[in-house]
């Protein structure tokens, strides 16, 4: 599929998993904002990509209409981690400084800590993940969101990568 061309450049290893990913997830949302995309997904693509910022540790944060941030992990990260079987997430009310460890995701073979993209307070945690940790793989930008937090210091967003910069970052570390 056309949108797969984007990720094809990321790594030859990932080519073979693309069909599975693109069946359920919006296709490469952070790239296809302005280009024609498969009709059904274009509206959600725009909304999703509107304010996605990325950390170098592969978390993303999206600023919502209410001013809070939704946090998750990127497609690159979920693909590398494999089938998520357990999500260790923080309690609501937890105060986090930027880069604080806020939880962990585990697959059958790997465990990975999660680091807060910004300073703020946890206001909601994705309750669906307790029974369906696989949502992180199937829908890492949408249904597999991890937590929502307040944004204490919006200026911190400027230090994060936008979609294009993150895409370049992945390419640079892939070799």
């Amino acid at each position: 599929m056309a949108a797969c061309g984007l990720l094809r450049s990321v790594s030859s290893n990932f080519i073979t998993v693309l069909p599975a990913l693109s069946r359920s997830a919006p296709l490469c949302p952070w790239r296809r904002v302005s280009k024609p995309c498969f009709g059904r997904t274009i509206a959600s693509s725009s909304r999703l990509s509107a304010a996605l910022k990325f950390t170098d540790k592969h978390e993303w944060i999206r600023v919502e209409d209410d001013g809070n941030g939704t946090v998750g992990i990127s497609n690159f990260a979920q693909e590398a981690l494999g089938d998520v079987v357990y999500c260790g997430l923080p309690e609501v009310g937890t105060q986090l400084a930027q880069q604080d460890e806020f939880g962990a995701l585990e697959s059958v073979k790997a465990a990975s800590e999660l680091y807060s993209p910004l300073t703020g307070e946890v206001v909601e945690v994705n309750a669906l993940l307790a029974d369906k940790p696989g949502l992180v793989n199937k829908s890492c930008y949408k249904d597999g969101w991890l937590m929502k937090m307040t944004i204490a210091n919006p200026a911190e967003l400027d230090a994060l990568m936008d979609e294009a910069a993150y895409e370049r970052y992945i390419r640079s570390i892939e070799d």
């Binding site: 073979t16 599975a20 540790k57 592969h58 590398a80 079987v85 073979k109 465990a111 990975s112 680091y115």
Partner: protein, 418 residues
């Protein structure tokens, strides 16, 4: 997130994800060597990984290659780990295990020779019967685990771990020199055949289409020479590392791709990698050398007393027998047990605590069980806590989580007894 955490080993403190400076996912590998050596090995391992005859084939089929025990091996293919694992339990999967060491021991004194190194009663094996056994050292520790088969072709056929290949072959060669000097008629031949495992409930239906021998006569732990899908000179042994009915097929190198392709033509069959191999063997309660057993564990501590032949216990004629045999009666201070928990997965080095919070042991390998949807693990605990059903705790990320000592296998096995 940073991949700072090591995964469960796939054969030693092996397959690991570790973070580099920029948070990059990096895969390193090692076999039996300890942790320090693993780090040192990682960079040279990446530089000079050995390739099995299926290397290009794996890549063509979407194999994600990682370094393991000095070899470039597929950890998974296009299917996710869990899909691959469940396919093996419900259909059958092919695993490339050509990295393992295959050895033939020839000569009139081959049984005496081999028995001087391992704990098995080899003389009592029936023709073409094999057994799991252990190389032990003078301190009573386990040097490697292996399968030795007494073929009716005038040789013993031995398969041992890839991560211990250098150690095992040096060990056998040293003993060979001693035995030859003492006038034994014995010789070693290290094979360069490829080795593939076909594991799962539909294995025999798949394989029967390619062999004329009646597979219902080839029971668990027996071996036979056969022409397989038109390829002569194959050795088929009904054994494996998944807990399912399965075989390992030793096949001439230059025809292993052909054999694998033939098997894959059957819709029942899929390729599987080291990732699924590890979660399958753990569910089956099978030890991983380097994690669950090593040179610091005796067969008694490891609850592998059954591998020590009755005659061998009486004669005490294997390395470390003077330490090991008394332990059978006297019991040991610690014991290997299985444990089950829910909540955060339990991995190697996870501390095991009593319900009061006292440290009583450590996990040696563990993973979330795709079949049980719980966490399964093996570890060593103080003997007082080793009884099945004992309530214990595991400490994951500084929090104590409840766990229970459990019998193994965690998932029932399906070995074919005929």
């Amino acid at each position: 997130m940073m991949w700072a955490r090591l995964m469960v080993g796939v054969g030693g403190p092996g397959l690991g994800l570790r973070a580099s400076r920029d948070g990059l996912l990096r895969v390193s590998g090692a076999g039996c060597p300890g942790k320090r050596q693993q780090q040192r090995q990682a960079s040279s391992a990446e530089a000079a990984l050995k390739k099995t005859p299926l290397f290009d084939f794996h890549r063509e089929h979407g194999g994600k290659m990682v370094g393991f025990a000095g070899w470039s091996m597929p950890v998974q293919y296009k299917d996710s780990h869990i899909v691959s694992h469940m396919h093996t339990r419900e259909h059958c999967s092919i695993f490339d295990v050509s990295h393992m060491l295959q050895t033939k021991v020839h000569g009139r004194d081959r049984v005496k020779f081999m028995e001087s190194l391992v704990v098995a009663d080899i003389a009592e094996l029936k023709d073409n019967q094999g057994s799991l056994s252990l190389f032990t050292n003078e301190k009573g520790g386990i040097m490697d685990d292996l399968i030795v088969t007494k073929t009716d072709q005038g040789y013993l056929y031995v398969v041992s771990n890839a991560g211990c290949a250098d150690k095992d072959s040096a060990h056998m060669k040293a003993r060979l020199a001693e035995c030859k000097a003492a006038g034994f008629d014995v010789d070693l031949e290290f094979l360069d055949e490829a080795l593939i495992a076909l594991q799962g409930p539909s294995m025999s239906q798949v394989l029967q289409q390619g062999v004329k021998e009646d597979l219902s006569k080839l029971t668990f732990m027996t071996s036979a020479l056969a022409t397989v899908f038109g390829i002569p000179g194959c050795r088929v042994t009904r054994c494996g590392y998944t807990g399912e009915d399965g075989v390992e097929i030793s096949v001439p190198q230059h025809r292993v791709v052909e054999l694998t392709e033939k098997l894959l033509q059957n819709r029942e069959v899929k390729l599987a990698g080291l990732g699924a191999r590890d979660s399958l063997r753990l569910e089956a309660g099978l030890c991983l050398y380097g994690n669950d057993i090593d040179e610091t564990t005796t067969p008694v501590e490891a609850t592998l007393v059954w591998t020590i032949g009755k005659r061998r216990r009486q004669n005490k004629d294997f390395p470390g027998a003077d330490i090991i045999v008394p332990q059978i009666k006297a019991k040991t201070a610690r014991k290997r047990v299985g444990l089950v928990s829910t909540g955060p997965p339990v991995r190697q080095h996870t501390p095991i605590l009593s319900s009061e919070g006292k440290v009583i042991g450590e996990v040696t390998s563990g993973c979330p069980s795709p079949c049980l949807k719980k966490n399964v693990a093996m570890g060593y605990v103080d003997a007082a806590f080793a009884k099945n059903g004992t309530a214990i705790q595991v400490e994951v990320r500084k929090k104590a989580c409840p766990a229970t000592v459990s019998k193994m296998p965690f998932v029932p096995t399906n070995y074919f007894s005929g």
